[in-house]
Subunit: 227 residues, 3 copies
């Protein structure tokens, strides 16, 4: 299953990076009391912009694509500084940015999954790499800001959208669909799940345990249930 | 000193991953007020289950073993979800899990150390890689949960057990003991130190400084000692 | 632009690692209420000492230099334990340590930037790698201690000094200056910016947004400005 990699033109890649950087800076703007400086904002922009691609390439044991061109760093940090300055403007464009971001995670998911497959990884790890490529920037952003990682908590489906897209992609390739069509469907599925989740407030259930366990004979409870 | 790598059968590896994932979910269950969702639990399971092996392979500049098979991701996330659901059951099995975990860190320590040696690393970095392979999952789990890293704080010896095991392994190999015997002794030493530390509450001393420094002639204190 | 790498003798490298480890332990000493144990201090020393070099080599897809010699781990953890024990002594030497640290980030910046260039990376990613090599240890230290990352917040220029040094280096190489001279100037620039920033309390501005956006015709504000 070593298919060709799904690729997008450089301008589309840079647009995705830029949207990520912009969003990173707007997210950081909530924490104005923390005294982040301009460099901090640029770092958040870089992490949110191409952190996912960076982790993808580290996992795949490749020199990160984002370090093989001058543009990635310029666009990610530039977009972050722009997002910081024009935060009031961009916050009015919330819907546009959510839509573009849903497209971005779809694209990154398709690129990451096909790249992993083309390097010979099996199906499930390829899905994992695709998902990490799509949402790793958001994880890195939260870790650098010393915040709980948003996507691990109850909220609108984000990583789950990428899991759905990447799984669809791998399944379609396995039944012989050409890579470009499969990748396009992956982008549509990821985009659709994400946008519908935002619209209808879909979320995953919170962690829970089964409270009543049937008493197994000979199995002693360490303490009285009254505790 | 490029010895053969100590290897364990896939089922044993997956059992170790599963125990890690299970423990990760049980650990996360303490933080029920944080609203982690099912995906968050699966991520913790993956991090705790094979995070150590992942960091080991990143340091050794190899594609992670856990991404070369479908089973690792399935077992780690499945074990985490099982651990979440049956937390009440597994929390009664505390002793069994501590014992299995001590075995797991011993095995990962032996695998990591011999893998590093076989790739040509010198003795001390190989011990380091072995220890990271054994305890890296626990570090990654705490970082993802935005918690202080447990093993850096006073508590029952955990990483120290791995340091003892890996050092023994490297010493035995240096004096010509065959790799399988040396690795077995490494597992026994790591297991023994860990289990005894839990039983007898052994711990490392807390950080401290030498309070009284002999006055060196001509060495001016910046402030009066009364401060 | 695949120049030769700027290299420093092993003793100078180990001195830099040692200063990093020492500072890491002294930094951790502020958090005595956290009950870090001796292993925790050693981990902080390793992270602060050669964390930057480690991240540099991960990004460049190389086996970390610090794992190819026994000395790096010994010096970093030894320096950290020494820094912990003799914290009262070293805290009197604050100026000396700040000066040596400024030299260290200059050296690591020059090494990292030239190493990236020699592996064929373009100019801007090479500056990025050089800066990460210089300041990555400080980022890793803060992440392991579960603290906000100091260098992302308003404070004396630290990473900016490395950006200035690495940019100078890349520019000088581009106009044909030999690598040794360019690297030396990089060290001087980094050192100078850092020391002057500490002396004159130079810092970057805090994140801010443009408050008044000119009203664009046909662009509706979602809420009244009175909010």
């Amino acid at each position: 299953m070593t298919e060709a990699t799904f690729a997008i033109p450089l301008w589309a890649d840079l647009l995705a990076i830029g949207i990520g950087g912009l969003q990173g800076a707007m997210f950081a703007a909530q924490f104005r009391d923390r005294r982040l400086d301009l460099l901090g904002i640029a770092i958040i922009g870089i992490a949110a912009g191409f952190g996912g691609g960076l982790i993808r390439d580290l996992l795949l044991n490749q020199v990160p694509v984002a370090l093989q061109q001058n543009w990635y760093l310029i666009v990610a940090s530039g977009a972050a500084l722009l997002g910081m300055l024009l935060e009031r403007l961009f916050s009015r464009l919330g819907t546009v940015i959510t839509v573009l971001d849903a497209l971005t995670i779809g694209l990154y998911c398709a690129i990451g999954t096909t790249k992993a497959l083309s390097l010979g990884l099996p199906a499930i790890p390829s899905v994992f790499v695709g998902v990490v490529a799509a949402v790793g920037g958001s994880i890195l952003r939260d870790m650098l800001l010393n915040l709980p990682i948003a996507l691990m908590h109850v909220g609108s489906l984000y990583a789950v959208a990428a899991v759905a897209g990447a799984s669809t992609l791998v399944t379609l390739l396995a039944i012989g669909v050409p890579v470009f069509i499969a990748a396009t469907i992956c982008v549509i599925v990821t985009f659709g799940v994400r946008v519908l989740a935002v619209l209808f407030r879909w979320s995953l259930p919170e962690q829970r345990r089964i409270e009543r366990i049937p008493r197994i004979a000979g199995f002693r409870r360490p303490r009285q249930p009254g505790r």
